[in-house]
Symmetry: D2
Amino acid sequence: MSGATFFPKPEISVTNPASAAAAMAAPNPSLFSGSRTLAGRLTDAFLAVRSETERRAEPLTPEDQMVQSMPDASPTKWHRAHTTWFWEQFLLGEHSPGYIPFHPDYAFLFNSYYVGVGPRHARAQRGHLTRPGAEEITAYRRHVDAAVVKFFHDTSDKMLAGLIPLIEAGLNHEQQHQELMLTDILHAFAQNPMAPAYDTLWTSPAPHAGSGWTRLIEGIHTIGHQGDNFHFDNEKPAHRVLVGPVKLARGLVTNADWLAFMDDGGYRTASLWLMDGFAAATGEAWEAPGYWRKTADGWQVMTLGGLRPIDANAPVCHVSYYEADAFARWSGKHLPTEMEWEVAARAEQLDDAFGMVWQWTRSAYSPYPGYRASQDVLGEYNGKFMVNQLVLRGSSLATPERHSRVSYRNFFYPHHRWQFTGLRLADYGA
Amino acid sequence: MSGATFFPKPEISVTNPASAAAAMAAPNPSLFSGSRTLAGRLTDAFLAVRSETERRAEPLTPEDQMVQSMPDASPTKWHRAHTTWFWEQFLLGEHSPGYIPFHPDYAFLFNSYYVGVGPRHARAQRGHLTRPGAEEITAYRRHVDAAVVKFFHDTSDKMLAGLIPLIEAGLNHEQQHQELMLTDILHAFAQNPMAPAYDTLWTSPAPHAGSGWTRLIEGIHTIGHQGDNFHFDNEKPAHRVLVGPVKLARGLVTNADWLAFMDDGGYRTASLWLMDGFAAATGEAWEAPGYWRKTADGWQVMTLGGLRPIDANAPVCHVSYYEADAFARWSGKHLPTEMEWEVAARAEQLDDAFGMVWQWTRSAYSPYPGYRASQDVLGEYNGKFMVNQLVLRGSSLATPERHSRVSYRNFFYPHHRWQFTGLRLADYGA
Amino acid sequence: MSGATFFPKPEISVTNPASAAAAMAAPNPSLFSGSRTLAGRLTDAFLAVRSETERRAEPLTPEDQMVQSMPDASPTKWHRAHTTWFWEQFLLGEHSPGYIPFHPDYAFLFNSYYVGVGPRHARAQRGHLTRPGAEEITAYRRHVDAAVVKFFHDTSDKMLAGLIPLIEAGLNHEQQHQELMLTDILHAFAQNPMAPAYDTLWTSPAPHAGSGWTRLIEGIHTIGHQGDNFHFDNEKPAHRVLVGPVKLARGLVTNADWLAFMDDGGYRTASLWLMDGFAAATGEAWEAPGYWRKTADGWQVMTLGGLRPIDANAPVCHVSYYEADAFARWSGKHLPTEMEWEVAARAEQLDDAFGMVWQWTRSAYSPYPGYRASQDVLGEYNGKFMVNQLVLRGSSLATPERHSRVSYRNFFYPHHRWQFTGLRLADYGA
Amino acid sequence: MSGATFFPKPEISVTNPASAAAAMAAPNPSLFSGSRTLAGRLTDAFLAVRSETERRAEPLTPEDQMVQSMPDASPTKWHRAHTTWFWEQFLLGEHSPGYIPFHPDYAFLFNSYYVGVGPRHARAQRGHLTRPGAEEITAYRRHVDAAVVKFFHDTSDKMLAGLIPLIEAGLNHEQQHQELMLTDILHAFAQNPMAPAYDTLWTSPAPHAGSGWTRLIEGIHTIGHQGDNFHFDNEKPAHRVLVGPVKLARGLVTNADWLAFMDDGGYRTASLWLMDGFAAATGEAWEAPGYWRKTADGWQVMTLGGLRPIDANAPVCHVSYYEADAFARWSGKHLPTEMEWEVAARAEQLDDAFGMVWQWTRSAYSPYPGYRASQDVLGEYNGKFMVNQLVLRGSSLATPERHSRVSYRNFFYPHHRWQFTGLRLADYGA
């Protein structure tokens, strides 16, 4: 192969966002813009995110909103309520004197894992709560939305300015759940023999025709979040790393690639797999990516638009880390590290880095050097997960707008495949 | 104790139903009565049962109807659909030429365990089916109801007469699911910290003030179903058994009795328990009957009317066989056999035999001598469960009218306690 | 079939043991006989049983004696030590003043399930105890044997007479473990790909060529143990039951019969099986009785003599209740109840009732009417197991001499098949 | 704290092994030395390693050698046989024409996980194999030892030279099992209430009184194995990394340190723990390191010398990664990465780096950039484990002489604590 050679300068940073590709432009603009007053800008951003949550729930029936088809997933209704509880608990409860919670039991029902905040309803039982129903959650959301907007307008700019980090955290938190709303309902629909469609008109985004490789020579780069914009704590501290030499594929691995792996017996060849991975593959009888169904008309896949024939040119999706790693070995290649990915992405050398599928890296999800979770209750957010999971980079078709970031670190267990997860390859050869 | 002595004559039968207590009158009248033509009588009986199913579902939201709070329970929606599928599969599908099933996937989704009929959706996943929704099930029921009624009126009396056994099986089958609809939704509501009420106006039936004992001297009696009325195959063949001497309590064990057992450390005293029972009790941390909650105001219990204080005079309910057996040992008494129960019940010597709680017997659920399951597909009904379960006799507050029978054999595993299950004692002492 | 008709008189008892068949003569003679003094007779009986235990352990290496190949089984070493602990705990510890236990930790290590006696080592971990080793257990046994014999000779006849029930219990308890020593080591050897033989010269007992049926007309019979000889508490109280009409097979089901069942797809035909049974059969991939191996030379079976070809005429062995029940249904027959078995056995109408294979009955293991476990610590012995198990009658090739009894009730869970278990059929047809 | 400042030069290497501390001298000398001919040197090295295996087994009874006290552990007997099988399979079987395996079944029984070599006995069942016994394994070892030595002397130097990599692999493989022999038998003994000692005279090595910190400034270093000596494939390829600034503790965390953590409620404080770690700690009821027992005389710990009082100055041992991570967070410090550890160790700045306890790093066990497992059967060795485990560096008191190496990468799952595992801290503060 004759990949285009790319020589990033060590320590290069993205100096000119205006000229970046669309995929790169999206990451990390402020959520707050375009309005006159701070209260107005906060209100705009708040209502934009809140209404996006409702927009995603809109095609779903009350029954759809209640299902929890596996312990890792949560009901739509729960996502809608939990994100609302966040505002009630952390913003109104702590900063709006006299605010009365909408319902005294909701804090218990809709806390997720914030141990510091008190006891909470068992995760695996979320799908057993028939009440409150979808309509009551709608009322809950309206109640809290109104209270938050009123709070913004009743509060001094000075105090609001001090609350921006919290508000940004709440908005980004809700955006994360927006992505999960889609992955979780798709899992449930995929279990249904009738294969319901979330949106019959849904179409997958078209991939860029990326091919060839981009080359990174050895150099020192700064990895992690820098600057004032919002970020999660796991993106910090920014720090210097030595990266390269390595080549990264410009494009994502496609369904056509994956079918070749399958045809070559990839799922049955133990020597291609990590030991834990082959145990998962045989234990769960994997023979194709998640949601694929073998039909009389060939392989089909369950999508947000229902059951569809496989598109050979589309990026493969719903593969676990174990599968991604086996595919890479079968290809004679590797998965990149998250540092390699970030360096190449900052230099705008990766096609489809954002908005298609999250890309597995071979980097375990570990703390950056000197990372320390913040000590307040929001500090529970990321640090406690830093073992046994792997980092995914980029973003997916389900990621909300203005939520992607080049330093963003997503993470899942290596057997997980209900997210929109794919891969791109790395090559350490000459 | 000075129990009234009772000397049933061997082979006594209930010769004068007109004089029997109300509880005894209920059992086993025909479901078909009061109309002029056979088609008319079938239609009346059919619509009465079908509308009772819908009446029981009526207080429930779409979300309520979807929940499956444990693998043993099924969603309301599923009960409504499965009982409908029965008519479609066994009556219309086999006897109404040209009938087109309402939906091609429903046979797969709503078959329960009739292996002979084909593959079926996994039981434990019933709560993951968001579609079809409650409204679609309502349409399904209406469609099938209309088709059945039309079929009755389009079919000759001669053919209808031949179908009566099947129709009776279908009606009784649906009645069984009517009871499960209540037990299953109560289980789900009991898991909800908010303790929703199925019907806030619900009241438990008042027990008869039964006290003392009824004595059975040794005698040969015929056990099991005799005559032409509907019965399940497990009630056959009627056969002769030697019963007694034994005394049976006239009344049911009450909550007051049970509180004394609890106060005496009953749940923590290994020597009172069967070994498997104590393993269940400690493994599941039982310290009171099912659905009891210890509150600041004392013990309360989750009922169809919501959370209510314990009524000391009411029969204890939601106890497993293991608990019933431990209680009997603690009392210095035993549980009766199902034969003893039936003999005493036939002689109208038991109070609250029907309509309060099912009563655990110490009889394992085994085939009667020479029992052979019928070879048609309905023959899967009862015989395959005849191991590892115990017989309960009588009926409960959730049992539909006209479904009780003195020869009725209900059965559950010894750890089960989500049914309306209680006990009465037996005494083999002098 | 033309079974010989047999009319037992109701209430018949075995009035003339001298004339009974050898198989019937064995059951229930006293273990104490032939010696001059009471102390002498006790010593003879004691040493006879104790040396039989050692004789059974003799072919085994120290490693063999340590294995616990599944939680239900126990190491040989443990059986040898536990039976010794019994004497130390209940005889010497309570009745021999000043007796010092051989080792202070052994009571904890070698108690089995006597909750009343104190805490005990976890059952499933017995195979993890490398020390004390087989040699130390030999020393332990010698120490206790000497102390018991000395105790017998130092104690007055009057006091000894009062201890006879305890001593009989200890001897019968040890005999039960003698049978388990063989079943447990055979399970371990059967897991070993090298198929070691317990005794290469071992031969299975020859079956009597029983064929045809014995008929029981309806009659009242007394079931259970009567008289003064030793018995377990579960054989009491003797009580009257109505038995028949039924026919029982004179002989046991053979391997030839079983191969016909297998050839007819018995293991794959769901309609022949109890639901729980088919789940076990598929979950554990049964396709033949336990210990059968399909080899290039046909079916072979792991026996005490090592791997041997199937003997078509031998009784089938190592079948579970689930398999026995499925076989009976496939045959158009049933399993007998334990009452039917006992009535026919008392009348000497069953061939191979003893000394070949335990025979599954369809009777659940339940208390006889009015049964109450004794309140002392030995009372834990049988009563706590009276749920979820099935009764087996007769005895097996591994049962020690003088341990069989016509009223003996053995019991195992329906999935168990590591005991020497087989079946005989019953027929309720005309 | 006033840690001595240490400025390693980037790319520093250990230039003067003669002057290094004893602990550093040990790593990675050749196993082959001091003899005249190549065959002689190979024979010396081979017999030295083989006899060390037997020396470690010598204190153990046949029963001790059979126990498998958890699925992760293996019986001593199995270790002795498996390491022997290695020579038979890979050296004699492939390079000694006409060699006949000692026993035809041993390849099946004693293969471990080399999928490429064929089927193998289930790992979790190793403790169920009573035969072959310890004596037969001794005969097996003698047979193979003699055959190998004869092979060395019958083979040309040229051919032997080509086999050196295989022979080194076999010797290092056997040394790894020598360490496991001690960790596995200690686990079994620790389960025994009688707390048997492996060697009553055993004493733990004395720690160096390391205190304070060594500082690494930022610099580029080469990590991984370089040169011709033996190494495992996972130590390759050597590659450059950017390390620092960071400080590493000179000494290991001690029992005194750990008791302070325990006294401060460390095991009960969820906020100190990784989420998966706290689940393990509560699920397994950890309240102290592995093998600690709370006695009337205070905390004691099960060692190779039996139960001993806690030595406050000794390094804490038998802690899992989860515990090590929680301790580090409680200390306001971190665990080092494996790269940091290696850089400091190469510069001889770490006390007790070798020979005490393996030291958890926070580095996930991942492939070095461009790592590719070799394609022959020995290539199964390390690569397939590169997920879900964490790297430990250094070596332990159980590591055989001449087996340690500064680039050595040991790895275990984060919940494992039956190895001799401890930790040293890192500090990223100013």
